[in-house]
């Protein structure tokens, strides 16, 4: 294995090159842009043979991706923040039309105020669309998740799109050592996409995206729910085959020193690296602190998270998003779906640093259970 130092954006571009999609419609947006640039260069250099469409907006990026996917080929696109929000309408259409599109989202705050920095409001706001969502912690996981996402999305029992989410700047613009797998291994794990049902082919004409009355719509949505829940088994199988071939084992969640922990922090994405350091310090002092990192957010791994946190007396859930007047989304979903009393913390909005001192503050605050969502890291004096 040869490790190469690269940003998570480059790691994603390398994964896309290995997955070899036929069509890549993309529109630049910070901090996703370098994914588009790397892919453009691969195509320009003849390292990829994809049709690269320089669309005029993100709305057209996802629309062209859906058109291409409807024609029965593998597609990739990438976006961030305002771009994802602009895609919103077609995000739902892509899932409803059961198109196995894979898209990277460089997590960035939504305007207003305008911010180019990281939080996860953009992708969290698309949680009800029917897409699968994976939150990566580092560049290696970003690369691997793209391959796993294609494998799961294209499974004939699933046929739902996937979003691989990476924290803007924190991952997109910092470098990590990454193992870029060999093409042969990737081909073993991810065979070419063969559509077996609805796609545009003059030899067997079909109508895709028809108009439905109340006799049919609800069943179509129910089928999506079944497919997303059913995707859990497909993800488990894909993870274990991935581990066999590449030696890296992923799961719905990652448990870090949480098995015997009294206090557990639940979080998603790159912040988990900081939390692991803080957990280690507490463990050094003999305090039973642990982390549960949620990696697959959709389908929501209720059982896995519950099993991992139910034994703890103090639970703190970190959200880099806010559902106004309700609180953090991950926190509320955990409290709604599980017999636990977790405390919710809003952190890191619009790129606000989350420091080890903040994590310590959260660990301290989990000792008193409260239903009130607590904002951590606010400036003391409001400007």
């Amino acid at each position: 294995m040869v490790l190469k130092v690269m940003s998570a954006n480059q790691a994603i571009a390398e994964a896309v090159k290995l997955a070899n999609p036929n069509v890549i419609p993309v529109y630049p947006i910070t901090p996703q842009t370098t994914i588009s640039e790397h892919l453009a260069k691969f195509v320009a250099d003849g390292d990829m043979s994809a049709e690269y469409i320089r669309v005029e907006s993100e709305h057209s990026a996802i629309s062209a991706a859906l058109g291409a996917s409807g024609t029965g080929v593998r597609v990739f696109t990438a976006t961030s923040s305002q771009g994802l929000a602009l895609m919103h309408e077609i995000i739902f259409a892509a899932a409803g039309l059961r198109a196995p599109i894979v898209m990277a989202d460089a997590n960035r705050a939504l305007s207003a105020p305008l911010s180019i920095w990281n939080d996860q409001q953009d992708s969290i706001s698309e949680r009800d669309s029917g897409w699968m969502q994976i939150y990566a912690e580092n560049g290696q996981e970003a690369l691997d998740s793209i391959l796993i996402a294609y494998r799961v999305s294209e499974d004939h029992s699933v046929l739902l799109p996937s979003m691989v989410c990476i924290d803007g700047f924190i991952l997109t613009h910092t470098v990590d050592p990454v193992d870029v797998p060999g093409k042969g291994d990737v081909d073993k794990f991810l065979p070419p996409y063969k559509p077996d049902h609805a796609y545009l082919d003059p030899k067997r004409p079909m109508s895709i995206g028809t108009f439905t009355d109340p006799n049919y719509y609800m069943e179509a949505r129910h089928d999506m729910e079944l497919a997303l829940e059913g995707a859990k088994d497909v993800i488990t199988k894909a993870n274990s085959e991935f581990a066999e071939i590449f030696g890296r084992k992923y799961d719905f969640i990652e448990k870090y020193r949480s098995d015997d922990a009294d206090t557990i922090i639940v979080a998603m994405g790159s912040i988990c690296s900081t939390i692991k350091d803080v957990v280690d310090e507490h463990r050094d002092n003999g305090e039973k602190v642990g982390l549960v990192r949620v990696r697959v957010f959709r389908p929501f791994p209720t059982e896995e998270i519950y099993d991992a946190i139910k034994g703890a007396s103090n639970i703190g859930v970190l959200d880099k998003n806010i559902s106004f007047s309700v609180g953090g989304v991950l926190h509320n979903e955990i409290n709604a779906k599980m017999d636990v009393k977790a405390n919710g913390f809003i952190v890191g909005l619009g790129g606000r640093d989350i420091k080890p001192t903040h994590i310590n503050e959260i660990i301290e605050k989990t000792k008193n259970t409260t239903k009130t969502t607590q904002w951590i890291g606010l400036n003391k004096e409001e400007v």
Partner: protein, 288 residues
């Protein structure tokens, strides 16, 4: 000209009696044949032809949303290209709202990028699917539900957006206007569009019985009146060369066209004269 007998838009769809849009689609598909993929924008055509689980389309067809048909078609065309299926024709059908208003950006992008596809705008001059609201393609003086005539209003107070010339500004190889009432002219243009490498745009005027306010058997007659009065001019722009493809022997008075429709019924003689002068100016410029 021989018109192929084979139909690719099956009967039994839910269009109004006298619908002009379905006539246009039937004629276009006859020329394009079975090795064609069609994309529709949301609108009358999509709703009336695909009431799930039925469909009128005997060729592959896809609809995603209102404003993105040209972008969806860009993806389809690129996917077909990647599969080496470059002999398959990609055709888009968008209404005037889906083309001149909400879909203009996606259309502009697709044309500018040079995708090999045909975009046919079926123009009934208002949002007919939602019940006759004004679009950018609604002509001056027309009464719609959002530009109604009244004590303070004579109806639509802006001229019709000139979509074909917006397309011409993209420098694409083929642009044409057409009318369902001149099938031979229209079908020749569809054929030409399919043979040209690169984007082609055809702006097809099609009378709408409910939106324009006339009885269903007069659809073809209304389309003819539009052209014979010079209110709608048939032309093409091939590789930058402008050519009028039909000239009425003797232009008829515009009020014959206006008086045949409920949407213009409220106009005073003075307003009709104003419309006549505008039509005269355009026709003199184009030598029609």
């Amino acid at each position: 000209m021989e018109i192929p007998e084979k139909e690719f838009l099956a009967p039994g769809h839910r269009a109004c009696a006298g619908c002009g849009a379905t006539i246009g689609v039937r004629l276009a598909l006859k020329m394009l044949g079975e090795n064609t993929v069609a994309i529709s924008a949301t609108g009358c055509l999509e709703v009336i032809t695909t009431p799930y689980p039925e469909t009128s389309w005997e060729i592959p067809w896809m609809h995603v949303a209102f404003e993105n048909a040209a972008a969806v078609a860009s993806g389809v065309e690129s996917a077909l290209k990647s599969l080496g299926k470059t002999d398959t024709t990609v055709v888009v059908f968008g209404g005037d709202g889906g083309t001149a208003d909400i879909g203009l950006q996606a259309l502009s992008g697709a044309m500018e990028r040079g995708h090999n596809l045909i975009y046919i705008c079926y123009d009934n001059e208002a949002y007919m699917n939602t019940g006759i609201q004004r679009s950018g393609s609604t002509p001056y003086g027309a009464s719609t539900t959002t530009s109604p005539h009244g004590k303070e209003s004579f109806g639509e107070d802006r001229p019709k957006k000139n979509m074909p010339m917006i397309m011409a500004a993209h420098g694409i190889p083929y642009i044409a206007t057409a009318s369902i009432s001149y099938p031979e002219d229209f079908m020749k243009k569809v054929k030409k569009a399919s043979e040209i490498e690169g984007p082609a745009y055809i702006h097809l005027q099609q009378p709408c019985t409910t939106g324009w306010g006339y009885s269903p058997e007069k659809t073809i007659e209304l389309g003819r009146l539009a052209v014979e009065t010079g209110s709608w001019i048939l032309y093409e722009i091939e590789e930058g060369e402008f050519k009028v493809t039909y000239r009425p022997l003797q232009r008829r008075a515009v009020k014959e066209y206006l008086n045949a429709q409920k949407r213009f019924k409220h106009l005073t003689d003075l307003e009709k004269e104003r419309i006549q002068s505008h039509v005269d100016a355009v026709c003199i410029e184009l030598k029609v």
